[in-house]
Symmetry: C2
Subunit: 418 residues, 2 copies
């Protein structure tokens, strides 16, 4: 059987299972989640042995240590993964919820009911815990899911999938509710993203190469999880201590995350008062400051920033800093160089705070808080399948609800249009 045919067949099986998954009750889905946690616990040694094989091979192939580390399922990761399954049982089931039920003048009652999307394909790299996390959320939202992880984690992913599917069999779910693509041939991705009619949504999570490959080849709708060049703007009225704390939390709490701060903008009226303490603190913690000419006037340790810096997602101990004329100038900079991800203003000016939240149309727009809140858990979604940088359907952190759509439901008593 050719690879193309193989991928088509597994997608057909997922599609055939989708109506049954869509019709599962909350209790059945939760039973599956708990059973999966039980089975994984019982299979722990087997799964971790497969995981160690993946790591050994990655090392042998010369993968960088941080990349090898991302594969690791042991220790805290394992516990978090199993806790995650149990936590998803606690999330409200979005399927079947009716909203906006209204009575039309002719007496027809019209509402909108939340329903699953159908079959969701997740294409990701390295971290094998995504296999479990993503399957849990997709199925809880009533979807069949096809998971395609990286080749470096294939043994781990297949070992995890065996327990997820075993739990499906144990609790009466169709096994095709969860499918892990077993081939490591990258061409499988190109086939999967062509299957319009069988796959309803593709979510690629990974580096630029993966995202580009998927978006350029897809005939299935795609929700991207792309780069974040996030900004903090220190307004003229910014409190220096708050600015220092927010910039620090946004930049160095975690470095390699898409909601991390990459470019700091500062109102020229605040540059002399606020920038030096803010940048000094970062610099002392080892962050390289790349500043515009006016930044370097007030902070001598800064090196010169170049135009490319404004558009760079460093994911590293580097911060680009630019002094701007005013908020308009800051917004123009973000519109030119930003990625519509996360932008925060630090201000004490009521009008500017309002205008910022109104005028900056990135997926997360904040006043006086860390950029690190651009996160499904932190924003109250309960869980997160990722952070969408696509505007359609879901923009920003995606939770369970974003893995569903809505249909119109009409309750009539014989109403005609004529």
């Amino acid at each position: 059987m050719t690879l193309q045919r193989e991928i088509e067949e597994l997608a057909s099986r997922a599609k055939a299972a989708a109506p049954a998954v869509a019709n599962l009750g909350t209790r059945e889905k939760n039973a599956w989640l708990l059973r999966a946690a039980e089975r994984l616990e019982a299979a722990r040694e087997r799964v971790l042995a497969a995981n160690r094989d993946d790591m050994r091979e990655a090392e042998a192939k010369g993968l960088a240590a941080p990349m090898v580390k991302r594969l690791d399922l042991a220790g805290g990761k394992w516990r978090d993964m199993l806790d995650g399954l149990r936590q998803v049982t606690q999330l409200p089931d979005p399927v079947g919820e009716i909203s906006e039920l209204r009575v039309r003048p002719n007496g027809l009652r019209v509402g909108r009911m939340r329903i699953p999307l159908g079959v969701i394909g997740i294409i990701y790299e390295s971290r094998p815990n995504v296999t479990v996390d993503a399957a849990a959320l997709c199925v809880k939202a009533g979807n069949a899911v096809i998971l395609r992880g990286g080749s470096e984690a294939i043994r781990s992913n297949l070992a995890l999938a065996e327990e997820l599917r075993g739990a499906a069999a144990d609790t009466g779910l169709p096994e095709a509710a969860v499918t892990v693509v077993s081939t490591t041939d990258r061409a499988a991705i190109d086939h999967l993203i062509q299957l319009s009619g069988l796959v309803d949504l593709i979510i690629p999570r990974g580096g630029r190469g993966l995202i580009d490959r998927v978006t350029s080849g897809a005939r299935v709708p795609v929700i991207k999880h792309d780069a974040g060049v996030c900004h903090v703007f220190l307004d003229a009225s910014a409190d220096a201590e708050m600015a220092r704390a927010i910039v620090r939390d946004s930049k160095i709490r975690q470095m390699a995350v898409c909601n991390g701060l990459e470019t700091l903008l500062c109102h020229e009226a605040a540059a002399r008062r606020v920038l030096p303490p803010v940048l000094k603190a970062l610099h002392e913690e080892g962050v390289e400051i790349r500043g515009c000419a006016r930044t370097r006037e007030v902070f001598a340790e800064a090196v010169a920033a170049h135009d490319a810096d404004w558009a760079t997602e460093y994911l590293d101990k580097i911060l680009a800093v630019r002094v701007v004329r005013d908020m308009d100038d800051a917004i123009a900079h973000i519109q030119r160089y930003g990625t519509d991800h996360t932008e925060v203003i630090v201000t004490n000016d009521y009008g500017n705070a309002q205008a910022w939240t109104r005028r900056v149309n990135s997926s997360t727009v904040g006043v006086n808080c860390s950029t690190a809140f651009a996160d499904g858990y932190r924003l109250g979604l309960g869980a997160e399948i990722g952070i969408s940088t696509s505007k359609l359907h879901a923009f920003g952190p995606m939770g369970l609800e974003e893995l569903t759509t809505r249909k119109f439901v009409l309750f009539g008593e014989g109403q005609l249009r004529e």
Copy 2:
């Protein structure tokens, strides 16, 4: 300048105008709508002359009379088009609306604010009034719009666009808020749908050829407005008179519409009681009945249906009819042959009514009402840009709200994640 470069430039101008359009107040957008209606009224003779030229050329080219008729802007069409502009001023402005504002445990207030999508491309055929209708809705939702109508309506579309853009200049909107592609070269479509980063959404409205061309070539997100093979299912408990009226309204109120009835399914326990009066009425009005063997047993005037009939969108005086074992069988038929558009049950059984709305996951699912209610106006959206057959972002009739997305807005007082 090459065509590709030309399309790229006009999209760049739309993209550059998008933030200004997004920030327009409701009053400014309404002023533009009213001014556009005024200008069109004043330019009526000029526009209708261009429209007559289009129709003359279409006739000369041998276009079928109904197709030529669809081009016509005169008479009631003209009045409806202008009334439409004024009605859109009455619709609530979705932009800036904040919902789900909640306080997180750390005091951070998190809400979701509705924002425009950016630049929307509408690709359509024949009816030139779409130029005005679609522009009105897209701009009212805060978007810049690029309109690409059919070559057969090019003079009409350009004449209309001149007034829409003139109204923009008159009322302080960027002229690039509304762009009509002036070339009739179909390759313009292929270029437009590639402009990821400049165009945020493409909505194709038209025949299968257009939809396929757009979905297979697009690198921009697409919301399809595709075929509808809609079903009515007459349950065992269906009231015969209600069944007759609903089937008639669904089938022959208007024939060439995507929410029209194409296949009638009937519970075997109701076939003898309900089918004959229902089908007799239709047959007397000139509808050809194509039935399964059991249909032909109870209604001799039916001709034999073939497998292809179950998947056909006739848009004509033809109805496919099948007797099924029960509701499960009806749902299985719909899942196999349907297009996820509109499905109605006629029943007096409470449990089946509930199960139908829960289990049939088409974009409009009704109980005891006509399929013709699958329409933005009739469902209370106020207006309709079309009926989406895509599940992502908008599923079913799309109104103003579906031309927007939501961002997260965070109101903090210095909250950090660490």
